[in-house]
């Protein structure tokens, strides 16, 4: 790679260095804004014992759900995992561990992780199973719990446009967790609908500055819709 040019030409190159028992942060909300090709590459690599941090775990047969088929995931850190029969089965069998985390806490854990903040206090989850065993403290008369931040060995991201330097723009609600996950990976890989030349994106409109990004790959996406609802 030359200078700031982060474009790689194969999925193998994009995910090079992924090993068993690593932690991978994945952007996406349901099936919206997920790096489809990078997930497929992880299945191809058959990496095992993975800890995946993502709001959801896809559905049976698509998205992160395909990594369950060969039991590649050891632990899932998510806010909602209800869309997936195989997930439930492996959870009940004890083959899969899940750490259910409130959605805002999950976003903040990644944001803080990427920003070098090891932990933060939040009112979310106080007095609930989520707060059990965690340090709590009162501020201005209200109790809060201490939540630790999250970083990953890899972050896998889906963007709409990225320039060769890794500056990214997301489209509509496909943004979701992608910007936070992008900041918190030791190696951050962005799969993108359109690669453009530096200078083509308006600097003040960049969602994820290229400093967070290590590799950019041109993807091709099915963009499956999880719940198609149209106006009557």
């Amino acid at each position: 790679m030359a200078g700031f040019d982060k474009v790689v030409n194969s999925y193998a190159e994009a995910m090079a260095g992924l090993e068993d028992n690593m932690t991978v942060l994945a952007g996406g909300f349901g099936l919206c804004g997920i790096p489809e090709g990078l997930i497929a590459q992880m299945k191809l690599m058959q990496t095992k014992g993975l800890t995946i941090v993502s709001n959801n775990c896809g559905v049976d047969g698509f998205g992160l759900g395909i990594l369950l088929e060969d039991k590649q995931i050891k632990k899932m850190i998510s806010s909602y995992v209800g869309e997936n029969a195989l997930f439930e089965q492996q959870l009940l069998n004890g083959e899969l561990e899940v750490e259910l985390t409130p959605q805002g806490t999950l976003a903040e854990k990644m944001r803080a992780g990427g920003a070098g903040i090891p932990a933060f206090y939040t009112a979310t989850g106080y007095g609930t199973p989520v707060g059990e065993g965690k340090e709590s403290r009162e501020f201005n008369g209200r109790p809060y719990i201490l939540e630790e931040s999250i970083t990953g060995d890899f972050a896998i991201i889906k963007a709409y446009k990225a320039d060769r330097y890794g500056n990214c723009i997301y489209r509509h609600t496909a943004q979701n967790f992608n910007p936070m996950a992008a900041t918190a990976g030791k190696i951050t890989v962005v799969e993108v609908e359109h690669i453009v030349e530096p200078g083509e994106l308006e600097p003040s409109q960049i969602h994820t500055p290229g400093i967070y990004v290590d590799r950019v790959i041109q993807g091709s996406f099915e963009k499956r819709i999880e719940r198609k609802v149209v106006a009557k």
Partner: protein
């Protein structure tokens, strides 16, 4: 008569004030969007990162990149904004969302709510519910007053794992509108034709009944 889901949603919509930012949970709360009074404007927040959620799209407008927190395809209204999940929950946790309406399995007299987990049965996750109940200025719980076996959902103390503590101040059920304060439920309205006795019988937690309980107006 007990209210239908639509009638509960209609009563919820009466709570909205012009200029409110509102987050509506899945189910009955979402229906409230259909009954916003014509003379006021509210902006719907969807916690996956959309402020200004519009109706579901037509076939021509359908876009896989445009969904709500229930993962359904939606549109954005004029003047909407779209942002990342941390920003979305900064709005919620920072108390900027005026109103949250959500469903529940149980609520108790301390304002505790259980809405996300039934041990050994339902373990899908809490999504954004814990953040919403910890962050919104005003939370309304909508639910049926009793479950299908007739067991009260308004309890002295919740039995299921909690979503949040000391956070619920208002409940709208198919039978009544109640405030939660001073370790009791205060009956403030009843559904048309529903007696105070029926509400009393289906409320397991301490219920305070004023001398006059007006019927809901639609």
């Amino acid at each position: 008569m007990a209210l239908s889901r639509e009638q509960i949603a209609m009563r919820v919509a009466q709570e909205f004030q012009d200029g409110d930012y509102v987050n509506l949970g899945i189910g009955i709360p979402t229906l409230a969007a259909n009954y916003v009074p014509a003379d006021i404007q509210v902006m719907l927040q969807s916690e996956n990162g959309l402020l200004g959620m519009g109706p579901n799209p037509t076939e021509e407008q359908l876009d896989a990149d445009m969904i709500n927190a229930g993962k359904e395809t939606v549109t954005a209204v004029t003047g909407a904004s779209i942002f990342n999940s941390a920003e979305s929950f900064a709005m919620i946790r920072g108390g900027h969302v005026d109103f949250t309406v959500l469903g529940a399995f149980e609520v108790d007299v301390s304002g505790n709510i259980a809405s996300w987990m039934i041990p050994n049965k339902l373990i899908k996750g809490m999504g954004g519910a814990m953040d919403l109940v910890a962050g919104a200025k005003n939370i309304i719980v909508t639910m049926t007053h009793a479950d299908k076996h007739g067991n009260s959902k308004l309890l002295q103390q919740c039995t299921l794992p909690l979503t949040g503590v000391n956070c619920i101040t208002r409940i709208i059920t198919d039978l009544a509108v109640l405030e939660v304060k001073n370790q009791a439920f205060y009956l403030s309205e009843r559904a048309p034709g529903v007696s105070v006795e029926e509400i009393q019988a289906k409320t397991a937690g301490e219920l305070v009944v004023p001398e006059h309980v007006p019927e809901m107006q639609f």
